[in-house]
């Protein structure tokens, strides 16, 4: 059981790290899609099927497409997808900061007195989940719906509104 988890974790972390270090933006986005699919596999492993499929639909399906569109819309020419890395010192500082955060978090997790006995999976059916969402959590569901609507309308307004009208600016 742990072997599967370690394999999923290594695949996810490896693709994420490669995506964050590559020069080509398109390759980064595609590798991150693989990484999100790995996280969905983790949810499946943990027994949260609904969250796994929500992750697949939202991240692998929708967000990756949106990011790809953003990459393709914000390039100057056909081959301009290279994101040159920042200065070497900044990359070194970033790696040091990330390694420090990882060391502190992993040490805290390893030393914490967490339950070590394998717990039975608290399986939750989709029917049960729907009852919870529409019953006890109906107010939060409405709030999230309003938030999504407002955020998407705001995104459209931000992306479409008021460009500086320079005739020679349009490629």
């Amino acid at each position: 059981m742990n072997t599967v988890l370690v394999i999923i974790a290594l695949a996810t972390l490896g693709t994420a790290a490669a995506a964050m270090s590559l020069r080509n933006l398109l390759h980064s986005v595609l590798l991150l899609t693989v990484s999100w699919a790995g996280v969905a596999a983790f949810y499946l492993w943990a027994g949260a099927e609904f969250v796994a499929f929500a992750q697949l639909l939202v991240y692998v399906g929708a967000i990756s497409m949106a990011v790809l569109f953003a990459v393709l819309l914000t390039r100057h020419s056909r081959d301009d997808v290279a994101a040159p890395p920042a200065s070497r010192s900044r990359a070194c500082y970033a790696v040091v900061a990330g390694a420090a955060v990882a060391a502190v978090l992993v040490a805290a997790v390893a030393l914490a007195p967490l339950a070590s006995a394998p717990a039975p999976s608290p399986g939750v059916s989709v029917r049960q989940l729907g009852g919870e969402l529409m019953g006890a959590h109906a107010a939060s569901l409405l709030a999230v719906a309003v938030l999504l609507t407002v955020a998407l309308i705001g995104a459209v307004v931000l992306a479409a509104g008021g460009p500086p009208e320079n005739p020679g600016d349009v490629p």
Binding site: A48, I63, A94, A97, L105, P122, L133, S140, P164
Partner: protein
């Protein structure tokens, strides 16, 4: 290490990878993707504690994770719209050049 600790270590490392990416890169899309990785690490924590933590109401962690995914999707949409807006104004999406608020 117990499975819960392995899950938490996994999410910690995912968070650290996202943090490193967000700090090291100057392309705003990559910074946004680093933020997404950190959010995903948080959601992994929800699921890990729901699966292995002390028993609570059986659906709480899943409901929390679903709401977090919805909020992350909204955040990405607004972030990408901001990136496109910055590109329209500056013809560039590198963060060091995007240093003025005037349109």
């Amino acid at each position: 290490m117990s499975p819960l600790q392995l899950c938490l270590a996994f999410s910690s490392l995912l968070f650290a990878v996202g943090l490193t990416g967000a700090l090291a890169r100057s392309n705003s899309i990559l910074v946004l993707l680093g933020l997404e990785l950190m959010l995903t690490a948080g959601i992994v924590n929800f699921i890990a504690f729901w699966r292995f933590g002390p028993p609570a109401s059986p659906a709480t962690g899943v409901v929390f994770a679903i709401f977090a995914i919805a909020v992350a999707a909204a955040e990405t949409a607004v972030g990408l719209a901001l990136v496109i807006s910055v590109y329209r104004h500056q013809r560039n999406i590198r963060l060091p050049e995007a240093n003025r608020l005037k349109g």
